[in-house]
């Protein structure tokens, strides 16, 4: 695969996009896991939102 004299610019573009999107995906996945863990911990302590307590299906 010969991209000619400007190969560095082409590869740098693809590398920037791949790295940036990978970091974005990793941030969202890790943030989601952290929040779910926090929510599970709060649930385990028995704390309930008012809306949950008002919902008969939750009781």
């Amino acid at each position: 695969m010969d991209f000619g004299p400007h190969a560095g610019f082409i590869w740098a573009s693809y590398a920037i996009v791949a790295t940036t999107l990978s970091l974005l995906v990793a941030w969202l996945v890790l943030d989601g896991r952290r929040l779910q863990r926090l929510l599970d911990e709060l649930d385990a302590t028995g704390v309930r939102r008012r809306s949950d307590r008002a919902d008969p299906s939750q009781s």
Binding site: M1, D2, F3, G4, P5, H6, A7, F9, I10, A12, S13, Y14, I16, V17, T20, L21, L24, V25, L28, V29, D31, G32, L35, Q36, L38, L39, L42, D43, T45, V47, R48, R49, R50
Partner: protein
């Protein structure tokens, strides 16, 4: 109409949204992954070099989808802001907040890949050209929205003020679109123009596949960010309930 209202009302409930998005997200992410993989293969191994720009035109396959999604992301923020201010849809603010950082990331990718394309073609990484400058303003607008929201503690007030700024800022979208007609170095639209696209099918198809794949990825990222925001608000609500219960208990023991 009645069915539409029912669906909208159902979607307005964060619990229903979480259930629906949990089912949709794996399909969306998988479709995005497959299309991007096919798009990369077509772009790097199948698409011929451009007759004027040679192999450098391969940057187009990541630059153009990033540029399109930079603008689309802002339209999502603006439409969600409209939904918050006019319809008071409970998920509209969640959507606007979730879309802003993703839009900013796509705008930064558009700017960086554009600079890397500009250097070999124009001889400079940056010129104060109408198209480049207006996209830079879009990036600064995204940063402004994120900064404004994070500077206000009251979530409801932050959402409303950010929504007003987002709606005022929508003027940047037509400016970006038409800036190529204002004595710009940047080439005019090749695909979305009246008549047929000014790009050969051998270059167009890889571009369309990459654009569709990256658009689906944007959708998956937005959905995931919205789910995270719903979780964040639930955690915050539970912490407030726990703090209130702690205060009430302390008052009882003191009394």
């Amino acid at each position: 109409m009645a069915m539409q209202q029912t669906f909208t009302q159902r979607l307005a409930n964060p619990t229903h949204f979480m259930a629906l998005s949990a089912r949709l997200l794996p399909w969306l992410a998988s479709a995005a992954g497959v299309l991007i993989a096919i798009g990369l293969y077509l772009a790097l191994f199948v698409a011929p070099p451009d007759y004027q720009q040679g192999q450098t035109a391969k940057i187009m396959y990541v630059h153009v989808p990033s540029a399109w999604l930079a603008m689309f992301g802002y339209m999502v923020v603006a439409a969600s802001s409209f939904g918050l201010l006019v319809f008071r849809h409970p998920l509209a603010d969640v959507s606007a907040k979730a879309a802003a950082p993703i839009g900013a990331v796509f705008t930064s990718m558009c700017l960086l890949t554009g600079m890397l394309w500009g250097k070999p073609m124009w001889g400079a990484f940056w010129v104060w050209d109408p198209r480049l400058t207006s996209v830079l303003i879009l990036f600064l607008l995204y940063l402004g929205l994120i900064a404004l929201r994070s500077s206000i503690e009251d979530e409801s007030l932050a959402g409303k003020l950010t929504a007003v700024l987002a709606l005022v800022g929508i003027v940047i979208i037509p400016v970006i679109k038409f800036s190529v007609d204002w004595n710009s170095l940047h080439q005019p639209a090749s695909i979305t123009r009246i008549g047929s696209p000014a790009i050969h099918a051998s270059l167009l198809w890889p571009l369309l596949v990459m654009t569709t794949g990256m658009s689906l990825l944007f959708g998956a990222l937005h959905l995931k960010a919205m789910r995270n925001e719903v979780l964040r608000r639930r955690v915050k609500a539970l912490r407030i309930v726990r703090a209130d219960a702690g205060t009430a208990l302390a008052q009882q023991s003191a009394g």
